[in-house]
């Protein structure tokens, strides 16, 4: 449910950027470029990239998430070991997402301290950074849930 919402937000941002760039290009040709198009495109790109992050943890029909896996050695592992490795990798992913979330919150706090905003439209940077941290936190929660939830044989 939450992953689906994030996906829709990121998808909407992608469509918005496409429309924005089209308007800007047409506007430039007509002598009226869209004011602050670069500011808007930069902020929307953040939403697109980080909004899609929670989708990485979304399980497919076979219960696998969307992370890239190297399974060179999995054929020689017994199912129990494969499940253990899967849990361990999910925990590591959760740790990495947590570290990234902390870094983004730290960057947002610094942006607040420095009153940073986009240069033409003055969109506050901290708000977008906290939003990105929220997306990453969702991905981390998804990874943690995956690490502790029961797994079928297919998951290994």
């Amino acid at each position: 449910m939450i992953e689906r919402l994030c996906g829709r937000v990121a998808g909407a941002a992608l469509l918005a950027v496409a429309g924005l760039l089209l308007l800007d290009v047409l506007g430039r040709a007509a002598g009226h470029p869209l004011f602050g198009a670069q500011d808007l495109a930069e902020m929307a790109m953040m939403v697109i990239v980080f909004g899609a992050v929670p989708l990485l943890q979304r399980p497919d029909a076979e219960g696998r998430d969307a992370q890239i896996r190297v399974d060179l050695l999995s054929w020689i592992m017994p199912p129990a070991l494969r499940r253990g490795v899967d849990r361990l990798s999910s925990m590591l992913a959760a740790l990495i997402w947590a570290a990234l979330c902390w870094t983004l919150c730290d960057a947002a706090a610094l942006s607040s301290l420095l009153s940073l905003s986009s240069n033409i439209l003055g969109l506050p940077r901290a708000g977008f950074q906290y939003l990105m941290a929220g997306f990453v936190a969702l991905a981390g929660i998804g990874a943690m849930v995956r690490a502790v939830s029961p797994m079928g044989a297919k998951n290994g």
Binding site: R28, G31, F35, L113, L114, I120, G122
Partner: protein
Amino acid sequence: MKMRMRLALVAALFCAAPICAGVSAETLKFAHFVAAGHTLTQAIVTPLTQAVAPTGLVIETYPAGKLGAGPADQYVRVVQGVADIVWGIPGYTSSQFPLTMLTELPAVQPPGMSGADFLWNGWDAGLLAREFPATVPLALWTAEPAVLIVRGAPVRTPADLAGRKIRVSSAITARVVETLGAIPVQMPAGDVYNALQTGLVDGLITGSSAISDFRFDEVLSHVTVGIPLGNQAFYVVANAKRVGRLPQAEQAALRAAGGRDLSRRAEAAWNARGQAAIAALRGRGPDVVTDLTPEGRAAFDALLLPLTQKMVADLHAQDALITMRGGQ
């Protein structure tokens, strides 16, 4: 037993040597984003490095974005400790520097006053402290007066700019361009050469020293000088915590090396470079550089001076401006 004692002594000396060496030779990382041969080196880096050298303090330079590319995140880098000293341009993060950015407003500096003095007046009065948190400013100055670079017909009056697309990098320049009847187009500095060449934009506002930095002389048709377009501000700041951890003598030497005098000298170097760029363009032909007539200047003043007043009023910065102008 004696042998063991000797071995222990040798091991202790071996371990202590680098620690002692570290104490006696502090090193600060100076990061910037231009090539080592840029004016910044002779105007700021070399004088600063030489001034602190007798105390044993070493300043290592990381040019050309070695510690991170571009000017926009320089302040964040120094606060986070990625670098100890950085050179930055307030215009790229103008929301952080509302009063520093006053220098970009048309005709805001009194005639004869340097941008360095304008900014240090603000710093000494405590007006700019909020704009430079967690750092120690070592130099604050401005570039040479901005000029208008265009491709196509020369600009002698505001009417010549009507409907033309002018590249802008900050909200203030965008307001200036709109006020002059032109269309502001936002784009990164690195894209401007191609945009000017292909006609995506018809011109830009920048300091004349940027003409050679970005090779605009290859694609421009005319440069108009004398329009009151303000001056781009610069800063060199050091991480306050890092400076506070330096030994007293080194800290004092660094603080003494920075300040108003270093800033004035840097500004003089920028002005000389800008004048050289304009002189080189004059050498290309009689009509490349357009000097405004008194009537032309009056027409620009009539539009731009009220804009300055309005923007200062919007910022509630009237009192600050008087202080920064030295009471004028």
